[in-house]
């Protein structure tokens, strides 16, 4: 049965499967993403995920949990394997007649540490299988947040983290460029649906989750989820920052369905990157010039994103990184 698109927030309904009673930060972006994604997937879902905030801060408080569907906390590198293992078990039980034939979603919600670094190989391996309704969501809070904000390969250039402190010798903080994991996943021929998402526009994630589950094969979504603790901002701004990330073009929203590329959000007039960067404490040490340089880089990248969208084909949006300062 195919899941219907959501046109208005009302249609997503009032039942939570990842519900109240967890100890994430006030204003936690990944928690909002989890709520939206699980609501979109619905009650016939098994949740899995590699350790990180979404499991450490969600499970086991007074031996209770906020999950209203079955869930499993995997080892940090094990998200990919646990996903195909679970999907394979369902397939085997159904084909042996030990379980009613029904569609069960296997949703693996893992962090950037879990999916972009430590569990990347397992994720890549899992996406070469043909399991249906197997969806991997990378909640990208741009750091190893649970352990106190260490840089990962999705941490953006310039950010302060415990691994990349800014100081007299190294002024910039993180000197590596953010890895676009979704682009690398698009190179897996067996994947039916790949997308990037954000918490803004409001139903973007929910709709992409439904498309992914309907796609008939394994799927992947990378959703940018602001983290008040790691990005140093007032928790009330989580959605404001999601919005600024897409309106400044810092985070491009696109989907790649069976070889066809399209942008799902085109900023009518791209806002200056400054608005996004200056709201976050992790970038306070950057100069206006640094931010302008990044802004110009994004400007160049957007020419390529728009060209990809025009052609319906993926062109890698590579541009020279900001020269070391």
């Amino acid at each position: 049965m195919s899941l219907q698109p959501i046109r208005a927030p009302k249609e997503l309904g009032s039942v939570d499967y990842y519900t109240s009673g967890h100890r994430t930060c006030a204003g936690c972006g990944p928690a909002i993403g989890y709520r939206l994604a699980t609501k979109a997937a619905g009650p016939k879902t098994v949740l899995l995920g590699p350790t990180g905030c979404m499991y450490v801060a969600n499970g086991h408080q007074f031996l209770t949990s906020p999950y209203a569907v079955p869930w499993f906390h995997t080892q940090l590198g094990g998200g990919g394997a646990a996903g195909i293992g679970t999907a394979a078990a369902f397939r085997a039980l159904i084909s042996k007649g030990k379980r009613r034939r029904e569609e069960v979603n296997v949703l693996v919600y893992g962090g950037d540490g879990g999916f972009a670094d430590i569990g990347y190989a397992g994720l890549s391996m899992a996406l070469t299988y043909d399991y249906q309704r197997l969806l991997y969501i990378l909640y990208d809070n741009e750091s190893y947040a649970n352990t106190g904000i260490q840089a990962s390969s999705t941490t953006p250039w310039g950010a302060t983290t415990t691994f990349t402190p800014t100081g007299k010798v190294k002024r910039i903080g993180n000197e590596r460029m953010k890895k676009n994991v979704a682009l690398t996943i698009a190179a897996h021929p067996g994947v039916r649906y790949v997308a990037t998402s954000a918490l803004y526009p409001p139903m973007d994630l929910a709709n992409k989750v439904r498309k992914a589950l309907n796609s008939g094969g394994p799927a992947f979504i990378q959703v940018l989820t602001p983290c008040p603790k790691g990005w140093f901002f007032d928790p009330k701004h989580t959605i404001t920052l999601s919005r600024l990330a897409v309106e400044t073009g810092a985070w491009a929203l696109w989907e790649y369905e069976e070889g066809t590329f399209s942008l799902t959000y085109k900023p009518p007039k791209r806002r200056g990157l400054r608005d996004y960067m200056r709201m976050q404490g992790r970038f306070t040490h950057l100069s206006d010039e640094d931010i302008e340089r990044l802004d110009r880089m994004i400007e160049e990248q957007w020419k390529l994103w728009l060209e990809s969208d025009r052609q319906g084909r993926l062109i890698l949006p590579w541009t020279p990184p900001p020269t070391p300062l």
Binding site: A8, D16, G21, A26, I32, Q61, T64, P202
Partner: protein, 362 residues
């Protein structure tokens, strides 16, 4: 449960909010422990996560422990402090007094009877005592209270609080704190500590614990494996426990759970009754239903599922993040301080997060 070796030691605890106060809390206990060393004691300090890791707004506790190296066995590990141990309690954000924390059910639970309480607040002492008596007392307390508006002295609130603490508490001397600051390369803060020491006015108090606090916790009898009802009863008891020991006792045990360490979660439509999160909140949303256009954005964007589908806030779970107010397209939601909402009082000493972010360094 009491451990005599721990009871002989001198303990100070600092209650603060995760991330906002992490650096301040750490500064405070580090300075205290160093002052203990200056005074010839052996000392140790640590932070405990208990069930709540360091996360934005989540209450967290720092400990400084001191003893006489000739007679005491001083700690060298992060122990679970059970019993009547604490000599001094410092509260960095007075809204912590309005809720039970998740770690120690009550802030004054676990204190010795003559403990000193230092609160960073703009509210008068009688108001603070009122709330302490009403919400934070499981046993009688005859000690001292110091009110101090720490932020009027210094943005780094640890230093004025240290001065006030030294005035009210004989566990540490002001000279030793000044000595510790020198050792820690913070000599320039000595004047802040001295000023707060001079101005602090400790008052002696005696508060009797109410009848209500003595109500006993009913623990269910485990009937066997896979017994959901027993499990729920344990969860409810843990969530409702008034003291730390009660809570430890009431936590559902692995023995009453299923083999294979399976937990029973809520069923769709329910919430996690075993763990509420009001302790994270120092602000709360107020919804003006007259303005509301029923767009559901506040509902979908609430990280804690505390904003209801009909825009009614569940205060057991609201963490006061302020997202709902920020996303409401018609500005139907405003954030009000907890003190104001509960008691009609304005607390000016609330550290705004934006300020904290400038100060908080890794």
């Amino acid at each position: 449960m009491a451990i005599p070796e721990y009871e002989r030691l001198t303990w100070a605890v600092v209650h603060c909010r995760g991330v906002l106060h992490t650096a301040h809390g750490a500064n405070l206990v580090r300075t205290l422990a160093t002052a203990g060393m200056v005074a010839g004691k052996e000392s140790y300090y640590y932070m405990r996560y208990d069930d709540s890791p360091e996360r934005d707004n989540v209450p967290m506790i720092f400990y400084a422990v001191m003893g006489d190296p000739k007679v005491d066995v001083v700690l060298h590990e992060e122990v679970e402090p059970v019993g009547k141990l604490f000599d001094a309690v410092v509260v960095m954000d007075s809204s912590l007094l309005l809720h039970r924390t998740s770690q120690r059910a009550l802030i004054l639970d676990g204190t010795k009877e003559d403990a000193v309480l230092v609160v960073n607040t703009s509210l008068p002492p009688e108001r603070v005592l009122e709330i302490v008596g009403e919400r934070q007392l499981a046993h009688d307390w005859r000690g001292s209270l110091v009110n101090i508006r720490a932020r009027t002295y210094d943005p780094e609130i640890a230093y004025p609080l240290l001065g006030a603490l030294a005035k009210a508490w004989n566990g540490i001397r002001i000279e030793d704190i000044i000595g510790a600051l020198e050792l820690l390369g913070k000599g320039e803060k000595a004047s802040v500590v001295e000023e707060a020491y001079r101005d602090a006015e400790p008052i002696r108090v005696f508060l009797r614990a109410g009848e209500r606090a003595l109500g006993r916790l009913e623990l269910p009898e485990a009937r066997g494996w896979w017994d959901l009802e027993t499990y729920r009863a344990y969860q409810a008891a843990a969530a409702g426990a008034r003291t730390y020991e009660e809570r430890m006792m009431a936590m559902p045990r692995w023995e009453v759970l299923a083999p294979g360490l399976i937990e029973f979660g809520p069923t769709p439509g329910e919430k996690n009754i075993g763990f509420t999160t009001s302790f994270e909140r120092y602000l709360r949303p107020k919804v003006d239903k007259g303005k509301c256009t029923d767009c559901k954005l506040c509902y979908h964007y609430c990280p804690d599922g505390a904003m209801g589908f009909e825009a009614i806030v569940d205060l057991n779970y609201c963490t006061g993040c302020g997202i709902c107010a920020e996303v409401c397209p018609v500005k139907a939601i405003t954030m009000v301080g907890e003190w104001e909402a509960e008691k009609g009082l304005r607390e000016e000493e609330l550290l705004t997060i934006e300020e904290a972010l400038r100060e908080y360094m890794y």
